[in-house]
């Protein structure tokens, strides 16, 4: 995974992306038990193009130039496919902006905060996302008050209350 992180850091240094942060299962594994996943989800802030067109081409080109191998919608570094995902909504944009700085094998990187990983999972709402939120709550690895605030800002309170009820942590009384 080190090669992928070095390449992502280089994207920021070279101004190809504004910034990036790791989300998805690899990001979640920073906080909770390891989750099965095939890839690294790298969420990026795209620079504003003069044309106004949104394109991942410059990012893919830069990653290929750093030794990545194109493979369907991924760029593979060693055994790790990297999927580039954009700041497609304001929740993701906030998650990237407020990501925490961490290290992986002494390589600096950024990971979504726990409350943002949960909020994105609540928004996505697939069974595996539901499981992920349950794990955060059951393992006590998310500040529930902070999660309530994020959920409130992005219209996800109902989904959060449902998750809290499932884990016995809800106070909705029903």
């Amino acid at each position: 995974m080190q090669a992928a992180l070095r390449a992502l850091n280089q994207l920021v240094t070279d101004g190809v992306v504004g910034d990036y942060a790791i989300g998805g299962a690899i990001g979640a594994s920073f906080y909770i038990d390891a989750l099965q996943t095939e890839d690294i989800d790298a969420f990026v802030i795209l620079p504003v193009a003069v044309s106004g067109l949104v394109s991942l081409t410059p990012i893919y080109q830069a990653l290929l130039a750093q030794g990545g191998v194109e493979e369907r919608e991924y760029i593979r570094f060693g055994e790790w496919p990297v999927q580039i995902l954009t700041d497609a909504n304001n929740l993701i944009a906030e998650a990237i902006r407020e990501a925490q700085k961490v290290e992986f094998e002494h390589i600096p990187t950024r990971v979504f905060r726990a409350e943002h990983l949960c909020a994105v999972a609540l928004q996505t709402g697939r069974p595996k996302d539901t499981l992920r939120v349950t794990m955060f709550l059951e393992q006590g690895r998310v500040d529930v008050e902070a999660l309530h605030m994020v959920a409130g800002r992005y219209g996800l309170t109902a989904q959060l209350m449902q998750a809290l009820r499932r884990t016995g942590g809800g106070d909705a009384g029903d």
Binding site: M1, I26, S29, A34, Q36, W80
Partner: protein, 65 residues
């Protein structure tokens, strides 16, 4: 009727909690390495399954008429 041995149930619970504590104590690097091993194991299992299906298809083609 279900009969429960409370002492053994408590022992099982302690064993599970101990494993859970160990898993949580793992570093991010350790957890990512676990994920990589899970993926490698999944690839081996998929390959074995593919080969088993191929062999089964061959046997069925060569079977008695």
């Amino acid at each position: 009727m279900l009969e429960i041995d409370e002492a053994k149930t408590a022992l099982n619970r302690r064993v599970k909690q101990s494993l859970r504590r160990d898993l949580r104590a793992k570093s991010w690097e350790d957890k990512v390495a676990s994920i990589a091993r899970m993926n490698a194991a999944a690839r081996i299992a998929q390959e074995a399954m593919r080969k088993a299906l191929e062999d089964k298809a061959k046997r069925s083609d060569a079977g008695p008429v």
